[in-house]
Structure formats: structure tokens, C-alpha cells
């Protein structure tokens, strides 16, 4: 399963931190930092995965012995997936691709600032791809359709509530 999805920029600032297993608040950032330290020191020519034994972290040990990190570096951002032995490394590389493609579809030439401004949207998209540590959707177009559905529905409920208010106002 997937334990965590992280987006960190080149300077180590977290842009998205998502854990699918319980982890104490104060332990999140140190872990992210530790992972970033390893990732940032790897040259682009190195392979895109490494074992959990590359970094010492007590939280990681709790998750199991076969923890792997699969990451990709896009422009200013590292996309890092923390997974265990039941996931395929290459599959995860593709999944990162799918996630980024979905972001790109939504934001049109997605950049780091999009992720900051639209933090909730990024989470929303990620929730479509991965839920509870499982891969649920692997087609970017499908993901976009879902998001659109949800947004439309939001607007609809918004209008409805406005109408209700108006009605209430009229009654008054």
C-alpha cells in the first residue's frame, strides 16, 4: 500500500504532505525533512527509488521492514511516494506521472504556486487517485471528470442555498 505522498520543493519546503497511516503531528515534518535530505542529494542520473534503510527514522520502522521510496523530480518539485513491498516501483513511477498529468490537466501547465494557492484542490485530485493508501483511479481524464462533477455539484448546492436564502428573505 501507499503510506505517504509528499511534494517537496527543491529547497525542502513541503508543498503537500499526505499520510495514509496515523503519524503524530510533530513527527511528520522531521520525517519529510529526512526524506528530502536523501532525495535532494541524489543526482538525476540515479535511479528513482531507494530503500527505507537509507534513512534512520523510527516512524518508518513502525511501518514495516520493506519500505521503499519512489520519487520523481519535476522542475522545482519532488514528488515522493512512500510505499511498501506490495507496490511495484515502476508502477509507482507511472502513478506519479498520472497524478502530475491530472494536476496539469486541471491547472494547465501546473507550477509550484498552483499547489500553494490551490492546496485543497491538489488534495481533492490526490483523493481521486489514491484513497486509504490504495490506487483507485489511473486515468487522468476520468479524474478530471470526477473533479468537474464535484465542482459542479458544489456550485449547485451553493446556488440552492442562495435560493433558499432568497426565499427566506422574501418570506421575511
Amino acid at each position: 500500500m501507499i503510506f505517504s505522498v509528499l511534494i517537496v520543493n527543491n529547497r525542502g519546503k513541503p508543498r503537500l504532505v499526505k499520510f495514509y497511516v496515523p503519524i503524530d503531528e510533530e513527527k511528520r515534518l522531521p520525517l519529510v525533512g529526512a526524506i528530502y535530505d536523501v532525495v535532494s542529494q541524489r543526482s538525476d542520473k540515479m535511479c528513482n527509488f531507494f530503500d527505507g534503510n537509507h534513512l534512520e527514522n523510527e516512524e518508518l520502522k513502525k511501518w514495516g521492514s520493506d519500505i521503499k521510496f519512489v520519487y520523481r523530480h519535476f522542475a522545482t518539485l519532488y514528488f515522493i511516494f512512500v510505499v511498501d513491498g506490495t507496490e511495484s516501483e515502476l508502477g509507482m513511477i507511472d502513478l506519479i506521472q498520472i497524478f502530475v498529468e491530472s494536476l496539469d490537466l486541471h491547472f494547465e501547465n501546473v507550477c509550484e504556486l498552483d499547489l500553494i494557492f490551490h492546496l485543497d484542490k491538489v488534495h481533492q485530485i490526490l483523493d481521486q487517485v489514491i484513497s486509504g493508501g490504495l490506487i483507485l483511479e489511473t486515468d487522468p481524464q476520468m479524474i478530471m471528470n470526477r473533479i468537474k462533477e464535484q465542482d459542479d455539484f458544489s456550485k449547485q448546492t451553493k446556488k440552492e442555498s442562495k435560493k433558499k436564502k432568497k426565499k427566506k428573505g422574501r418570506r421575511k
Partner: protein
């Protein structure tokens, strides 16, 4: 729009602006990537409309901030702002939603936004989906640890699950996967199960994900059969099926049997997938549903593991899948590579099948020869697994593997090294280890290095081609990473060198072997000599090995390396600052051996030995003296240090038969025979049994500590003493606390000192039996005589009981081998400096030897130089050397196989040490007694004259007693199950002490509490086991004078097991004892001083270090003036113990400083008849237990206090096997921590105490014995106090004390 654009540009200038480095630059790493780059640095991001300008500005500022500090400041400001905004009344949902997002941002940067948690939950309760979604999102991010708030959400979630809108249901399901905890699963489970068959596939999918979460968090929560899972698996929508496969994967991993029957179903799904019968939507880069394929292959891998039948079912489909994937693989599609890799992994995992293995081996080749590091990495990983079943696979790819070893990618290298470990065999070991050594040089990561070293050592042990190679390989590893080589290995090397190859079966080759072994030793000695002379800096452990080998075998290579040179090199090494004392000690032993072997002693060595004879390490000192000693007796060198004898067996005289003569002599002189441990235990059991029958009797003996009468300690009756006092003094106040070693260092010194020892020791023996008798009769008198001043109702009952008690004691005593002069032996005080004339020192030349060292030397003399006994049967050599090692420490470098023997020897050594033969008779006696003492009372030097008191439970009775000086009474419990004990704190029961405070009268009350006008106990010890220690009128008056407003409470001795007067000092002239009395709001320390020598000591003076907590210092008997600087000029005290000088120090609570006080110190000086001045520094330890007093409380009060009190400490007392029940524990806790027992509830107990004099500083204690107490006797304790340091103090103290 423009403005936004500007903003974002500046933002990126300061954060990450790497336009040129976009995805195209990385394309070569993903050769199979078809997609174009996605993430760009083109800046056109527009903040969403719902974010306020405030926040946009913040983002901008944070982006521009130049340091982490500045950023933190900005965020801090933002958080304050948010807090303020959140607290506004009538916050609009929209605004709140924005604020929650802002809080989310702060949280992302690692700040605590607890204040926003509730708002997030509120937001999730909105009906507007956007607000709800943000609320859910924020809640699931925030609430991982805060389950209280989840309670608020569960209702919303339940409601949303029932919503008609699929989107709302989905949000709820997503939140469940993130936040659900086992206890809430039942609340949502029925609805989720229902949703599994919802018409919307998205909902079904999310419901499956929720199920997966349930299964992960609490497998027992789902009461579902395989059919339920199968139903989900066979969902018409492939994406739902894909999610269901995850559940199957989890089951395959945790419970493969459950789903083994489903292999055909799973295989048929895979078949459908690879044939492309799924919806085209699931194709990814022309590969049919790669994730589903990968999942299924993983499942098959788990199911086919070690199961031929199951594996057979899947062979075909795996081959098919591999073939299909190969097409994609050749086209360079990542997904196809992933599937291919999974196929290989599955093949290696399931029951091996040659055809599949061959195919896999072929495919692996494609991976390892790929230009992509990703694929090479996976290829190597696959090989690691493949070679286990198919060793030939690696051979094909040797070249590639070697290439990978030199790859700049560390991950790849590491993986390749792991592969090398797998493929190592005896033919390639030399090459592989060579490679690894090269690699080892490049490794910087410590953990990895450690792992590597361990594995390399293991390989070289497993596949070593010969011993020589092994030794040199280990040497190379040690040179590179010596500190990481496990100690075992070093010992192993030593053993190998010492023993050589062992082939006992083939006797013909013995000679040849012998030659080989000598060759090996020579080789090792040469290697190490070279290493030593090269003066490189090596880890400690390596030096030890080197030095040991050189010490043993340097003579073998003396042609190449003159011994003198090596000795000088060792001398240089000793002086180096970065080696440990242990290694230094080994150096000296090596030097000793080399001196013995070569017969030369260079000047440098001589100087060094001189220098280190005064080393702070006793071990080094010892070895230095040994070297000296051996030099002084050159004729025995060959015998004690023969060359090459490290693996000779040593025989030890376990019975210490050489001492029989002395024992006999001692017995003839009246000493009591030794009681074995078994006998003692039996006796203890018997007395315990007696106690269970309601007649538990413990004899209290109050023997004086005078020489002549010191017979009657009843150690055997009471078992090993448990003094909590570490009473001792040392040269220096600063380093004197509780260090037993330092004690040992000096403790013999007083014994050496006085010629006056002669007398008491001999007379002690001669008068032994008589004293016993007189003691008994004395007891008898004490017990039966009733006095005039007390009312006494149950005298007869009491007499009966005491009668029983004393006879019990006496019978035990007759079996007990107690010391006549144990108070002399158990000297705990170190003379600060003793101006002793030289002739008094027994061993000249070695003035500052420690006790232990001297003993060791004596042992050595006894064993080897001595005329009496030989302890070894075989080859009488080497033993001194061995002895040294043993005595010094456990980390000696010794060949492994002798360690066991040495351990046994070590134990004996301790005994031997205590009974060294000395030239002077009295010293022997001393030591002999010491030995007895050690046997009776292991490792406890301090407790002499111990009197263990039984603790009574919760009754406070009124007791009155009188005596001329001091007596004590004991409290009796109403149910008569208690022991009436007689306690005399300072009084002597010894018959021969005319001047002592003889106990005249004692009254002990029986069942009915009695009161007298004067002496009424004010119930200070309610519920707390206590002794009531009362003085007679006279002493009461005295004490009144002492303490001013002294009242009866003060003399309520809250007794612990420590109510025996503990000996502080006994140097043959002065004896000093103390006892602590636990008054309600004070701690009183009574100290008594006696002159036990027959000569008068003069100019006795005491100087007390005043401390904050100290309230009063008074002298009692005779009353002396205490000067303002704490000095008391005592002058003379009558000799032969005829007079006691007593003084009292009282401490009370003083602004919480009390429990930081650790000891009361005073100095004692006097002049002996020879006009020598002696100084002693005496410390009376104070612990937290002394400062606690029982606090009465009701259970309800306790409950409310418990909630109010903030600071909580938890600890477990492990292995409390001596505690049989919770009651035992309570008794012990009362003794140690002076707790008031509030209530015992089943296995739990609550107790309470407070710091003396401060009712507010309380300690609430909750103890519970574990469920399976019999197997794992441990007690989990919780304590709550309102002071953190107090809590910590108590915790540490408890952990220490309960262990005893």
C-alpha cells in the same frame, strides 16, 4: 491579473526558479516515457477567488523570506491573526472555510494549529459541498492524533453516508479511510457494507478502500467470509475490482490460506486483463491495466510461496503474462517493465519451476543490461532473489554485476553488494571480499558500514580458505572500520590464533598441525607488530587484539621485530590520550608477558610502570604492581608466565581446600561454621512459614558494636541485608557519592593501621561462645523485665512472643557464622589522610594499594608463590596472568573458550580475595571474617549489625517504655500476627560492655493500646507501618531540650527496614553509627560516636556542613556546645566503648530544597595515642524516601486529587519475583516510599504521601500487578505529583529501591 503575475514572479525568484531545468532535461532517465513534460515553471498561477488578499500577501512574503527565522516570524503573526479571526462571533461559513485553508497552509509548514481543529470539524458539517470538502480535508489532515474531535465528526460522517448525493457519500468515505480508528469501525461498518453494492461505481470503489482500511486497522472487525470478498472482486467495474485486489493482496500477505481457493478466479482475471478484455479506459500506454496485472502477480507470489500445488495452477498464466509484457518491454514502456519485473519476482517467490526460472533468468538479463539505472537496480534486486533458487543466473551476468559495483549511483551499488553476499561461495570469496574492501572504503553512512562489516565478517567466517587468510582479512576490515567489528569476532580471531586449526580426530597430523599453528602465530605476530610499529591510529578494539597477540607471541618474531622495539611501541601507545584504560591495562599485561619472556626491562617500561602505579584506574595499578612483583621474584617468572599458554586449561580449587586449615583454626577458636545458601533459604522459608501461622517471629538483636560483643548479628535470620544507606567517605567530597569502587580502593587501609587490632581480634574469637550466651541471657532479661513506669496489660502475651522470638534468633545464631568483629571489617570510611609511619604498612613499596589489589596479590602469592597450596593440577604456568585478567574486568581479551572457566574462577576469586593469607595473624582473621561476611552477606559492605524489622500494618498503638538511656519498643498489631521486636538503636545488648547504655527495661504492649500520660503516640503513622520508638522520660526531657518544642511525634520512628543503626565509620579507634528517625515534619538523624579502642583518642572534633534544610544540630550525651560554624569539640570519649557521644541533626522541608538534598556531611578528626591526626569525612545519604510521609486520604479524595494533579510518571517494576501479592508490594512501598495505603482494589492499590512539612506537595501512587504475574512478575506504577522534579526523583528512587 498583471499584479498577480508580478507577485508570482517575485515569489519564484526567491524560492525556486529554475526555468531551464524542466522536464525535457530529464527525459533520458525515463526512456520509456511517452508523455510530454507536465510540471513547468511558467508562472501563471492565479490565486483562487476565495482566498483573501491577506493570505496571498502572506504567501508572497513567506516566499520572499530569506531565512527560516523570518518565515517562522511571519507564520507566527499569521497564526495570531487566525486565532483572532476564528474567535470572532458569527463567523460566516465562507470566511471560516478560507481561514481553515489558511490554517492548513500553516500546518503544512510545520506549525501547530490546534485552534483550527474544531473549526475544521465545524466546516465539515456544512451542507455546501465545497465547505464540507474543505472541512473534511482539513479534519483528516489535522486530526490524526486528536481522536476526541473525531467523536464530533462521526455523526456527520454517518449522516453523509446516507446522503443521496454520491459526491457527499464519497467525501465521507474518503474521510473514513483517513480517520477511522478501531473503536469507531462498528459505527460505520453496516453502512459501508451496504455501499459495497451501491449503483455508483465510484462509491463502490471508495467503500472497498474503506473496507481495506478496516481490515488494516482491526482485522477482527470484519466478520466476512471469503465469498463476500469474492463478490467484491467480481465487480463488473474493473476499477472496483482493482481496489478489491488490494484487499486480496493484504489477505494473501497475512492469511494466505483463506484465499488459496481463489487462485483460479484470480488467474482468470489476469487472463482477461492480458487479453485486453477490459474497458480500454484502463489501458495505460497501450498496456492493459498494468496496475491490476502487477497486483495479481503480487498476490500469486504470496499464494504460491512454498506451495507446489498452488504454484502449478499459475505457471501457465505467468508465462503468458511475461510474453505479453515482453512486447511492451521492448518498446520501452515503463508499465510493461513493471509487469515484467513482477513476473520475475513472482517466479522467484513461488515453488521453483525450472522452465520459469530459465525464462526469468533471461528476462533479468534485459534488466541488468539496460541503460536505465531504474531497470538495472530492479534487475539486480531480481537477481538477488533469483540466485537463491537458480544460482547459475548470476554467473551469466558477472560482468554487468561488476560494472554495477563501480556505478556512481549509491543505491545501485548497495544493491549490488547485497547481491554479492548472496552469490559468495568458497571459490569467489577472495575476490568478493577484495571488492567489498574497496567498496567499504567509499562508504560513509555508518549504519550501512556497520551492516556491511557484519556481513563481511560473516562471509569470511563461513567461507574462509584458511586461517591465515581469515586473520589478515579481519585485519584489513579492522583497519578500515575497526570500531564496527563486533567484539565477538575479535575474540574469535584471538582464539583462532591461540588454538590454530583443530582437528583432533587426525592424530597423525598433529605434528604438522603444530607447525602450522606456530606458523600462524608467527604470521599474526608479524602482522600485528607491523601494525603497531606503523603507529597508525586504530580503534580501541583493534589495539587490544594487537597488544594481546604481541604480548603472547612476540617471541616468535623477535628476529624481525626486536622485543625491545615492540615494548617501546607499546609504551608509546599507553601514553596516547585516545585509548581507554582497559586497553592500557592490557598493554601492561602484555608488557609483563614480554618482560617475562625476554627477561629485559627497558628503562622506558620501568618509568611507565612507575608512572602508572599511581594511575586512577585500579586495574592499571594492579597490573603495574604485578609487573613489579614479578620482577622482584625472577625465579618464578617461568612458572607463572610460560610462553604460549593462553589456551591451557586452568584448574581451580573450587572448594578452596587450601584454606581448610585456617577454617579449622577459626572453628577451634570458636567461630561458627558456614551455612550454605540452601540452608539459609530453608531457614528463611521456615521462618516465613512460622509467620504465616501467625507466629511470625523475627528476632531483633541490638548488639553493641563494641569489639567484644559484636557477635550477634543475625544475618542468616534476616537474609541478605538491604541497607539503603551507602555510607562511606572518601578523600574528596565531590566524587565520593555512592561509588563502591572507590570504597574498595581504600577500605583496607584502616585495617592495616593499628597495632591495636591485635587485641580485639584474638580476644574476639576466644570470647565468642560466651558472648553468645551472655547475649541470649541479656535478651532474655530485656524481654522479660517489666518496668515501673509503664502500664502493661499484655505482658505475658508479649513475653511469650518475645521468648519465642529470641529463641528463634538464638537457634539461628548458632548456625550462623557471624563475625566476631564484623564491624571492624566493614569499614566504610576512608581516612582522608592518615599519617602512618612506614613500618606499619604491610607491603612496602606499594603504599597506596587498594584492598582489592592487595588481595589479588595475596591470592597470587597464595596460589603460586605461597608455600601452602597449589590450586592447579595441570601445567603450573600462566595462572598469574590469567588471574590478572579475571580480576580486572570482564572485557578482557581472552580466547573465547576460556571465558567460561574464567567466570567461575572469577567468582571464586572474590571469595579468595576476601580471605587472603597475610603475614599477620590478625589480618588473616580479619580477612577470614570478611570472607564469612561475604558469604553471608554478599556484596554488602555496609551493613553490619543489621536488624531487620518486620513491618506492621496499619495500627498505631501506644507504647511506653523506659530505660535509663535508650530503649525502644515495638508496636504490636492487634491480630497478634505481628512480631514484638525489641529494638535498641544505640543501646548495647552485648554483655561485656559495662559502660554502654544497657537496656534496663522494656515494655511492649500487647493487643490493647495503652496510654500513659506522658507518652502518647499521636497517630503519626496512621496506616503506615511503624515502630514506635520511645525514650524514657529522661531522654525525653533531653530531647525536649534539644528540639525545643519537641513532641511525641518526633520519636515515632517511622521504621523502614533500615532501623538498624548503620555503621558510618569504624577505623579501629572510633566507631560511628547513625540512624534516621522519621518525625512527622522532620527527618532526624542521630549519630553516635564511640571510642572502641583501648587507648584514648584525643581532640575529637566534629564539623557539620550546614545546609539549607538543616534545622537544628544538638548534642545529647553529653551535652556539648555546637559552635556557629557547626563545630563540636568533643575532646575525649572514654575508651573501650564505655562512653557514647551522641548528636542529633534535624532536617525539615525548606522550600522544596529538601528532596534535592542527597546527603548530610560532617567531618570527624581525632588524634590517636601515637599523636597522629586522623580525618574522616562522613556522609549520611538522604534519599527521597526519607522525605516522604504518609498522607491520610480517602479514596474519593484520591480520585479528585488524581484528576487535579498534572504531572504523571509511569514506570514498570520488572522481575519483582520476591513480591508474591499486591499486599507484599504495599508493604514494600510503605517501607520504601512511606506511602499511606488508601485502598487495595483487586490487583491494584492506591497510596499517597506528601513531602514532609508540606501538605501541598503530594505524591499520589497507583500500583498494579500485571495479569500474568506468575510468569512475568512486574508491577506497573503510576505516580502523580505537582512537582516534576519530585516525580522524577521518586520514579528513579523507586526503580532503584524496589529492585533491592
Amino acid at each position: 491579473m498583471n499584479k498577480n503575475h508580478k507577485l508570482t514572479t517575485s515569489f519564484f525568484e526567491n524560492t525556486v526558479y529554475e526555468k531551464e531545468k524542466n522536464f525535457t532535461g530529464r527525459e533520458n532517465i525515463f526512456p520509456f516515457q511517452i508523455q510530454t513534460p507536465v510540471v513547468t515553471t511558467i508562472v501563471n498561477s492565479i490565486p483562487p477567488s476565495y482566498l483573501s488578499k491577506d493570505f496571498v500577501n502572506l504567501i508572497k512574503e513567506v516566499g520572499e523570506s530569506k531565512s527560516k527565522l523570518e518565515e517562522d516570524r511571519l507564520i507566527k503573526v499569521e497564526i495570531t491573526k487566525l486565532k483572532k479571526l476564528f474567535s470572532k462571533p458569527k463567523l460566516k461559513p465562507r470566511k471560516r472555510c478560507e481561514l481553515v485553508i489558511r490554517a492548513l497552509f500553516c500546518e503544512l509548514l510545520g506549525n501547530d494549529v490546534e485552534f483550527a481543529h474544531v473549526k475544521a470539524v465545524n466546516s465539515s458539517q456544512e451542507s455546501n459541498l465545497f465547505f464540507k470538502r474543505v472541512g473534511y480535508l482539513a479534519a483528516s489532515t489535522f486530526l490524526h492524533s486528536n481522536q476526541k474531535l473525531f467523536l464530533l465528526m462521526i455523526n456527520t460522517i454517518q449522516k453523509d453516508l446516507k446522503s443521496t448525493s454520491p459526491i457527499v457519500v464519497c467525501s465521507a468515505l474518503i474521510t473514513i479511510t483517513k480517520l477511522i480508528t478501531p473503536e469507531f469501525i462498528p459505527a460505520v461498518l453496516p453502512k459501508v457494507l451496504e455501499l459495497l453494492s451501491h449503483e455508483d461505481k465510484t462509491i463502490r470503489k471508495k467503500a472497498v478502500a474503506a473496507m481495506y482500511t478496516f481490515l488494516l486497522k482491526d482485522p477482527k472487525s470484519l466478520d466476512l467470509g471469503i465469498d463476500d470478498f469474492k463478490r467484491v472482486l467480481c465487480d463488473q467495474d474493473p476499477s472496483v475490482m482493482g481496489a478489491a485486489l488490494d484487499i486480496f493482496l493484504l489477505l494473501a500477505k497475512t492469511n494466505p490460506r483463506l484465499i488459496k481457493s481463489q487462485i483460479p478466479t484470480i488467474c482468470s482475471i489476469l487472463k482477461q486483463v492480458i487479453e485486453g478484455r477490459l474497458n480500454k479506459d484502463f489501458d495505460y500506454h497501450q498496456i492493459h491495466a498494468p496496475w491490476i496485472q502487477i497486483k495479481i502477480l503480487k498476490i500469486l507470489g504470496y499464494l504460491g510461496q512454498d506451495d507446489l500445488k498452488a504454484s502449478k495452477e499459475m505457471y501457465n498464466i505467468i508465462i503468458e503474462t511475461t510474453k505479453k509484457a515482453e512486447i511492451g518491454f521492448l518498446n520501452g514502456i515503463t508499465a510493461a517493465c513493471g509487469i515484467m519485473y513482477e513476473c520475475i519476482r513472482t517466479i522467484t517467490k513461488i515453488y521453483p519451476e525450472q522452465k520459469l526460472l530459465n525464462a526469468a533468468s533471461e528476462e533479468v538479463g534485459k534488466f541488468v543490461t539496460s541503460s536505465s539505472n531504474n531497470l538495472r537496480y530492479l534487475g539486480i534486486t531480481a537477481l538477488i532473489h533469483l540466485v537463491k533458487a537458480h544460482p547459475e543466473a548470476a554467473v551469466k551476468h558477472q560482468i554487468v554485476i561488476v560494472e554495477c559495483l563501480d556505478d556512481p549511483d549509491e543505491t545501485l551499488r548497495r544493491n549490488t553488494i547485497s547481491l554479492l553476499f548472496e552469490i559468495t561461495n568458497s571459490t569467489n570469496i577472495v575476490f568478493i571480499l577484495q571488492k567489498m574492501l574497496t567498496y567499504l572504503k567509499t562508504v560513509t553512512d555508518l549504519d550501512h558500514k556497520k551492516d556491511l562489516v557484519t556481513r563481511m565478517v560473516k562471509l569470511s567466517e563461513d567461507y574462509a580458505i584458511d586461517t591465515k587468510w581469515f586473520v589478515s582479512t579481519i585485519n584489513s576490515i579492522m583497519e578500515l572500520a575497526g570500531s564496527l567489528v563486533p567484539r565477538d569476532v575479535v575474540y574469535n580471531v584471538m582464539r583462532l590464533i591461540a588454538e590454530g586449526t583443530e582437528d583432533d580426530e587426525d592424530e597423525d597430523e598433529d605434528e604438522k598441525e603444530e607447525e602450522e599453528n606456530i606458523e600462524l602465530k608467527k604470521f599474526a605476530a608479524q602482522e600485528y607488530a607491523e601494525m603497531l610499529l606503523s603507529e597508525q591510529i586504530l580503534p580501541d578494539m583493534s589495539f587490544r587484539l594487537i597488544i594481546w597477540v604481541i604480548g603472547e607471541y612476540s617471541y616468535l618474531c623477535k628476529d624481525e621485530f626486536p622485543i625491545k622495539d615492540l615494548m617501546l611501541a607499546i609504551c608509546l601507545l599507553v601514553e596516547k590520550p585516545n585509548i581507554t584504560d582497559q586497553t592500557r591495562a592490557i598493554c601492561f599485561t602484555a608488557l609483563t608477558k614480554m618482560v617475562a619472556q625476554s627477561g629485559i626491562i627497558p628503562e622506558e617500561v620501568d618509568d611507565l610502570v612507575d608512572k602508572y602505579s599511581n594511575s586512577r584506574s585500579t586495574d592499571i595499578q594492579q597490573r603495574c604492581y604485578e609487573l613489579r612483583g614479578i620482577l622482584a621474584n625472577t625465579d618464578i617468572i617461568d612458572e607463572i608466565l610460560p610462553p604460549d599458554a593462553s589456551n591451557e586449561d586452568l584448574d581451580f580449587d573450587i572448594d578452596l581446600s587450601f584454606l581448610n586449615e585456617y577454617v579449622q583454626m577459626a572453628l577451634q577458636n570458636g567461630a561458627k561454621p558456614y551455612i550454605t545458601k540452601e540452608q539459609r533459604i530453608q531457614m528463611e522459608n521456615e521462618s516465613l512459614l512460622a509467620g504465616l501461622e501467625g507466629k511470625k517471629e523475627r528476632g531483633l538483636r541490638f548488639e553493641a558494636y563494641q569489639i567484644k560483643s559484636s557477635v550477634t548479628t543475625n544475618m542468616a535470620v534476616n537474609g541478605p541485608s538491604k541497607s539503603i544507606y551507602d555510607v562511606k567517605t572518601t578523600e574528596n567530597v565531590n566524587n565520593s557519592r555512592f561509588v563502591n569502587e572507590t570504597q574498595n580502593e581504600f577500605s583496607l587501609a584502616p585495617n592495616l593501621g593499628g597495632s591495636n587490632l591485635n587485641k580485639w581480634s584474638t580476644s574476639g574469637y576466644s570470647g565468642f561462645q560466651d558472648e553468645n550466651e551472655s547475649d541470649e541471657s541479656d535478651n532474655e532479661t530485656t524481654n522479660t523485665t517489666t518496668t515501673t513506669t509503664t502500664t502493661q496489660k499484655n505482658t505475658s502475651a508479649f513475653s511469650e512472643m518475645t521468648g519465642f522470638g529470641s529463641s528463634d534468633i538464638n537457634s539461628n545464631q548458632s548456625n550462623t557464622n557471624t563475625n566476631t568483629n564484623n564491624n571492624m571489617n566493614n569499614v566504610n570510611v576512608v581516612p582522608n589522610f592518615v599519617e602512618q609511619p612506614k613500618q606499619k604498612i604491610i607491603v612496602p613499596k606499594k603504599p597506596r594499594k587498594t584492598k582489592e589489589e592487595k588481595k589479588r596479590e595475596k591470592v597470587a602469592n597464595l596460589l603460586f608463590g605461597g608455600e601452602k597450596v597449589k590450586t592447579r593440577k595441570k601445567k603450573p604456568r600462566k595462572t598469574v596472568n590469567q588471574t590478572n585478567k579475571i580480576v580486572t574486568n570482564s572485557t578482557n581479551i581472552t580466547p573465547k573458550n576460556t571465558v567460561q572457566k574464567r567466570k567461575t574462577f572469577n567468582q571464586q576469586q572474590q571469595n579468595i580475595m576476601t580471605m587472603n593469607k597475610t603475614n599477620k595473624q590478625e589480618q588473616f582473621n580479619n580477612n577470614n571474617n570478611n570472607m564469612n561476611n561475604n558469604m553471608n552477606n554478599t556484596n554488602n559492605n555496609q551493613d553490619v549489625n543489621l536488624i531487620n524489622f518486620e513491618m506492621f500494618s496499619s495500627n498505631t498503638n501506644t507504647n511506653t517504655t523506659t530505660s535509663t538511656t535508650k530503649t525502644s519498643t515495638t508496636n504490636m498489631n492487634q491480630n497478634n500476627s505481628q512480631v514484638p521486636d525489641l529494638m535498641d538503636i544505640f543501646g548495647g545488648s552485648g554483655g561485656g560492655n559495662s559502660g554502654m547504655m544497657n537496656t534496663q527495661t522494656t515494655n511492649i504492649l500487647g493487643q490493647t493500646p495503652n496510654t500513659t500520660s506522658n507518652n502518647q503516640n499521636l497517630g503519626g503513622g496512621g496506616g503506615f507501618g511503624s515502630f514506635d520508638f520511645l525514650n524514657n522520660q529522661q531522654s525525653l526531657i533531653q530531647t525536649h531540650q534539644l528540639f525545643g518544642n519537641f513532641n511525641q511525634d518526633y520519636i515515632n520512628v517511622k521504621s523502614k527496614s533500615t532501623n538498624e543503626p548503620a555503621v558510618l565509620l569504624n577505623d579501629g579507634t572510633l566507631s560511628c553509627k547513625f540512624i534516621k528517625l522519621y518525625a512527622k515534619d522532620q527527618l532526624i538523624v542521630l549519630v553516635e560516636l564511640q571510642n572502641i579502642a583501648n587507648n584514648n583518642a584525643t581532640d575529637i572534633a566534629i564539623t557539620i556542613d550546614y545546609q539549607n534544610a538543616m534545622k537544628t544540630v544538638m548534642t545529647t550525651d553529653p551535652v556539648q556546645q555546637v559552635l556557629s560554624n557547626g563545630q563540636i569539640n568533643v575532646g575525649r570519649i572514654a575508651s573501650n566503648g564505655k562512653q557514647n557521644f551522641k548528636f542529633v541533626m534535624s532536617l525539615k522541608e525548606n522550600q522544596n530544597t529538601f528532596f534535592s538534598t542527597t546527603s548530610i556531611n560532617f567531618r570527624l578528626s581525632y588524634r590517636d595515642p601515637n599523636e597522629q591526626t586522623h580525618f574522616h569525612l562522613i556522609q549520611i545519604p538522604i534519599n527521597i524516601g526519607d522525605c516522604l510521609r504518609p498522607k491520610e486520604m480517602l479514596t474519593q479524595q484520591f480520585g479528585s486529587k488524581w484528576n487535579q494533579t498534572q504531572i504523571e510518571k509511569q514506570f514498570n517494576l520488572m522481575n519483582m519475583s520476591n513480591i508474591k501479592s499486591i499486599k507484599d508490594f504495599v508493604t514494600l512501598a510503605k517501607k520504601i516510599l512511606h506511602l499511606f495505603e488508601i485502598q487495595i482494589i483487586g490487583k491494584e492499590v492506591i497510596m499517597c504521601s506528601n513531602i514532609l512539612g508540606n501538605e501541598n506537595l503530594i505524591c499520589l501512587f497507583h500500583g498494579m500487578i500485571t495479569d500474568n504475574y506468575r510468569e512475568h512478575p512486574s508491577i506497573s506504577c503510576k505516580l502523580k505529583t505537582n512537582n516534576n522534579s519530585l516525580a522524577e526523583c521518586i520514579r528513579k528512587f523507586s526503580l532503584k529501591e524496589f529492585k533491592k
